[in-house]
Symmetry: C2
Subunit: 456 residues, 2 copies
């Protein structure tokens, strides 16, 4: 089955691992628009960001010019525990599809947190420790980010306070237990520990909570306690910077076996994985060195690229966070409750938004039942049980490989397999039982939500 | 932290993977005692075994002389999807313990089934397919084996019928869903699909089921349907043969970096992982080429090596299976319901039993609260959330590394990390909540159970 040239899993040696993160912004002619202070409408300064984020991370957030930022040795040592992650040649999937395409996937689920989120969590925890902080706070919905952060904090002996949306806290007890095993304090949100939490509990007794509320609580907890800062797992420039390790490894591994990618496919929620995966490839495009076809895949139920607007909007539903210019469905937009496939964020990384607007990437949206069908097909031949998020990329990779079958093209298709689905089995069960359905917002739903964006 | 000589993860290249399994029995002077027909008391013949097991597997079960048995190419191709598994140098754990010992672990949890069980599942599925069978049947308790088998059957388009102990079926719905995602039929046992199931349901209405009953149902289902055979995930000689891939890779990786193991530690339930891990090392001991200290670790609640007797006993609680001469606590023995740490089998592989009796390995037992404490300590520094089973080996590896700290010895300690704990979070939660307790059977408990062994 193998062509005996390219192994099933292309591993880099430890000394071939990236020693610096790549900052896409340095090569962008049209820089992403700055974050704005919602009070003044002016670009946020380092001084304004420092009470919320660690100093070094503020620098990274605002740095538009440095192409490469060294990965500190402590972080590189942690990376060595689960990186380099394998770039897998999907021989079994190719054979099943009978496609001439060559399919590769970068598998980021081979660590206990089960996703790529750990790449940025360890960096953020490191800078917090270096600054002499006691701990960090964050919010988590489904729990991938909270799990990754709790692992990272445990490694650096840093206190970790996670505000977990109450409905997830109750319905995903296993995610919660992993975080507790790593020593994190997990509080169902809204809680009685913060002013905003108490206020919401008073206004809406018995509420299930929301990500917007959990963010507000986490930010309040960070800014009102000595020695704490707030950290976030996606959307931000610093997160895309850290996640560039995915793309750098992918590029190095492909180079090692002499393969040039034709097409790169990634799922897109807030953009952390997609931005990381495509960064060195986009860098080559920005510098005019090479061409790639890049496809962002989003859920049809939360289609920020494909049906959103490129405007300034709040980063959070609670409207306490900065304004970002991004493709957005409006900060009030919520995918329907039957949406089980992750990627629920209403907006998108400002970097990716600018690149999309400038034509460097395409976007497409897929229905969740199709996503789970692709997930199951993939699991059965490639062995890995994929996360629903990752399965958006699988779905489009399979579609593209089938197009190659029609045209006879032997394209090199690379996609990001961001994580595993061990904690998503309630969704798999729905799919297996045939009771999963699809939801596509109407134009009216989106227009109503977009109408509430600030007029800037 | 690293000494820059040995990487964190020692990977073999694909062409360095084993091409044959190693059969320890070929080098044993004292061969393991044969399985006996419980009806006649005579050694089971190939003819008697063939209605239950696939032909090729019957051969492997009875083969005491062939040292190496070639791994068919189809199986090697499947292995390439998740093997070679990493041999990890536990630099972070060493630093945490401040021990001069060098700790290595062979990590078998990097596949979707989450454990080493897949190594034998794919082999057994392959031989079933090659024989032209329609499918296989098996039982599963916690679900590791059932998951592995469902993955293997899905790869070879083979029907897979899993009888899952009813209480696990209800309490571990996620394991069940993974199996269904891989296309297996999962039936809670006792069911109404078999004679034995109907009988038990009639006698004990509302029963939760037991592994013994599930085995009986799976065997009945295999032997009464055209084109089916029964498969088993541990204890058998064929399973240890397939699992030798773990030890062969471990030995090859250590050789590659010029390290000689001083001590090899593995958890022991039925013996599949331990037997596989130690096989090439024991081979060298049997041939007088080398010496190793080998330690089997079992739960204090189910201590077959350390407190059982070396006698003929039934392989199953239901007493329908053959008799095996093994270290056993009696086929009626059941660990207390508060036992959460896996490794519940009353007996032990006949090969390992003979080796233990001949002094090639030592055994020790550990309490489950100590096991979970070690698991948590390991998870926090090495990143991986270990299965409770695997954590028995972690506990003893840590203890031995701490002894080295006292003596100043820089021993090379190798242990088997058989799997991940994603589906064991109910047990972790008990531990995190401080409500896990220990159970140690009394001498009287064990004597009573052993008294029911057949007198042979």
């Amino acid at each position: 089955m193998s062509d005996n040239k390219i192994p099933y899993k292309i591993y880099l040696e430890e000394n071939e691992m990236p020693k610096a993160w790549y900052n896409m912004r340095s090569d962008m002619k049209n820089k992403p628009a700055p974050l704005l202070n919602p009070g003044t409408g002016k670009p946020l300064t380092a001084e304004e960001l420092s009470p919320i984020f660690c100093e070094e991370l503020v620098k990274q957030e605002l740095d538009e010019t440095t192409p490469f930022i060294e990965i500190p040795e402590e972080i590189r040592n942690f990376y060595k525990m689960y990186r380099p992650s394998p770039l897998v040649r999907a021989y079994c999937l190719e054979e099943k599809l009978k496609t001439p395409a060559k399919i590769y996937y970068k598998f980021e689920g081979n660590n206990t947190s089960g996703s790529h989120k750990l790449n940025s969590a360890i960096a953020q925890a490191y800078y917090a420790k270096k600054q002499g902080l006691k701990g960090v706070t964050t919010e988590t919905g489904a729990g991938q980010w909270g799990t990754a952060l709790s692992m990272a904090c445990s490694y650096f002996d840093l206190d970790c306070k996670v505000y977990m949306v109450k409905v997830s806290y109750e319905q995903k007890p296993f995610r919660r237990e992993v975080m507790r095993t790593y020593g994190a304090t997990v509080t169902p949100s809204p809680s009685m520990l913060t002013n905003v939490g108490r206020k919401i509990n008073e206004q809406f007794p018995g509420t299930d909570g929301s990500l917007g509320c959990a963010i507000s609580e986490a930010v309040e907890a960070a800014t009102t306690q000595e020695g704490y800062r707030y950290v976030l797992g996606s959307v931000l420039n610093q997160v895309l910077l850290h996640q560039s390790v995915i793309g750098l490894e992918t590029k190095a591994a492909l180079d090692k076996v002499g393969v040039k990618a034709d097409m790169i496919i990634g799922c897109a929620g807030g953009g952390s994985n997609l931005g990381g995966l495509i960064s060195p490839f986009v860098g080559e495009m920005l510098r005019g060195e090479n061409q790639y076809e890049i496809i962002a895949v989003e859920p049809a139920s939360c289609p920020s690229f494909t049906r959103g607007s490129f405007v300034y909007d709040f980063c959070d539903t609670g409207r306490v966070c900065p304004l970002a210019k991004m493709y957005t469905l409006g900060s009030n937009f919520m995918p329907a409750p039957n949406h089980a496939g992750g990627l629920r964020y209403h907006g998108m990384s400002t970097i990716l938004s600018q690149l999309y607007d400038d034509g460097y990437l395409k976007a497409t949206s897929v229905k969740q039942t199709d996503v789970f069908a692709a997930a199951e097909q993939f699991a059965r031949v490639e062995g890995i049980l994929p996360a629903p998020e990752s399965s958006h990329a699988i779905k489009v990779a399979i579609d593209e490989a089938l197009k190659c079958k029609e045209t006879g093209e032997a394209k090199n298709i690379v996609f990001g397999l961001t994580g595993t689905g061990y904690f998503d089995l309630v969704a798999y069960q729905k799919y297996n039982d045939g009771v999963m359905d699809d939801y596509i917002p109407t134009d009216d739903d989106i227009a109503k939500s977009l109408a509430k964006c600030p007029k800037i």
